[in-house]
Symmetry: C2
């Protein structure tokens, strides 16, 4: 099903900056409201609404971080050089850069994404029941971790996956300390209020390359400068166990990591059950389910993390 959209991108030989349609924090659906306790404070809601992100320090304790870290490393070792479709390697070194679909590959991470400390924030912000659109671990290894260039996730999800509206949220759970030095996530406050329409057509099976180095759906430098000059750049630093929640349309990226210290995060994208994927735009072929879920879209039920 192809529908009209206010968010055209990758169409013509031009870039554009468009206003966002729809809210950042969504009014709760009738079916959700009685079930969900208030999770965010008013100040947290305001910060998320204004900035497009919220850093919550120390949501997970040291024991939980240690268990998740060990599990993440075990996955990395067992998946290296297996040629698995879920595993993306670093350009150059071949080190494991990301593992996708971790909520299907690993029971502990399947449990993690249902933990109320993260799941209920997603339900609160999106005002509905939610499911996982994409999950992954970003390892960003020491020494060889390369940058992630600026992007809005929604631009890709809208064009390549057919996600209809900006009613999704990314949740990055820090599994190592994220410092100024090891290539932490950078976000542009306020950028989520603008849709940056990007130049250039999407090549077939673009995702196989774009998950390593993005060359399409890349925002124009002038528009990035405009956003950064207006909003500044905030670095999401924090101890392992902290969590960054950010809107699907917040412009973000990160520099490389030459320090000896990996910057590893678990990454869950929660999408509203009222925002399931349509067909990709522009006649593109849908990306596979381990990158963009189309089958497993049932509402998640909370389940506290059990080690």
């Amino acid at each position: 099903m192809q529908t009209q959209t206010p968010y055209r991108s990758r169409h013509q030989n031009m870039s554009a900056i468009l206003a966002r349609c729809g809210p950042v924090i969504h009014e709760p659906n009738d079916d959700l409201a009685p079930a969900l306790p208030a999770v965010l404070s008013d100040a947290q809601r305001d910060a998320y609404r204004n900035n497009g992100f919220l850093l919550m320090p120390d949501l997970f304790d040291a024991d939980e971080v240690a268990a998740l870290y060990a599990e993440m490393q075990a996955m990395r070792e067992s998946y290296a050089h297996q040629g698995r479709k879920e595993v993306i390697s670093e350009p150059g070194s071949g080190d494991v850069r990301s593992v996708f679909d971790v909520h299907h590959l690993n029971p502990l991470f399947a449990n993690l994404m249902r933990d109320p400390r993260v799941l209920d924030v997603a339900r609160d912000v999106l005002g509905s029941e939610v499911y996982i659109h994409q999950s992954r671990i970003n390892y960003k290894p020491g020494f060889t971790g390369k940058e992630f260039y600026w992007h809005s996730d929604f631009e890709t999800w809208h064009i390549e996956d057919g996600m209809p509206a900006m009613r999704a949220l990314s949740c990055s759970i820090l599994l190592t300390d994220n410092t100024d030095e090891n290539g932490p996530l950078m976000l542009i406050p306020g950028s989520h209020r603008h849709f940056i329409s990007c130049m250039g057509e999407t090549p077939e099976e673009n995702y196989k390359k774009s998950l390593k180095i993005q060359e399409c759906g890349v925002p124009d430098p002038l528009l990035l400068s405009y956003l950064a000059d207006m909003g500044g750049i905030t670095t999401a630093k924090g101890k392992a166990g902290s969590v960054v929640f950010f809107d699907c349309n917040t412009m973000h990226g990160s520099n490389s990591n030459i320090t000896p210290y990996p910057r590893s995060n678990a990454f869950f994208v929660y999408n509203s059950v009222d925002n399931v994927l349509h067909a990709p735009r522009d006649g593109l072929i849908a990306r596979p389910d381990h990158i963009a879920a189309r089958n497993d879209v049932a509402a998640l039920t909370p389940q506290a993390l059990a080690l």
Copy 2:
């Protein structure tokens, strides 16, 4: 003239960590002492001796920075795509990464390196008259600036240029604000007390590639971890006009820069006139004069920067 050295590197299939020979701050030669006023305080000398670097904020004022910045940009524009030997481009984008030999190419930068605020620090630390071993501007452009991997300058200068002893100093004059976000210089305090002997043979004309991406003279990750675990990592952040002085053997590097804001520095390497270059080691062919000076090695006389 090939001499004995305590610092072997790139010889065998092994890495090693060796103790530094000789001081960090050098006793003044007899011919220098009466001419040079005390430049560094005791606290600054101690910091430089212990850490291997010293950040001096705001050595140059806003007018000086503006003039130097404009000159630097003019050079960049006039030299782009000219195929000049002094110009190194970014891997990938082809943007200007560095311009070498700026003290010969440009009168303002020739003046800058004689300014007592930097020259006298070099004379003070090296305890002798000095000359420029290498000069350059590192542009690290916004959006596309790539990382400089960890290295000790002395390792390269000793092996590829035949610099005999650790009696040289790098001086990086910040021409834009260097922030946590735009790929600032990172240094490992205390690393200057160790010589990291690196694996791998040097290919011919290595410098043509190594100035973009270093693949030889690269320190072993285990030894880097050892140095960083011991000393930590310090980021040389500062406003434009600040200056970082660091020992020729201090391990340093920087991450990429995806922000819209360039991280540009002027870079002068002062070498003691008692430490002029010998033949390169291991039968290597000497690098050209714009990379490693062999001809213009007369002692520099101070001359205040005049706009």
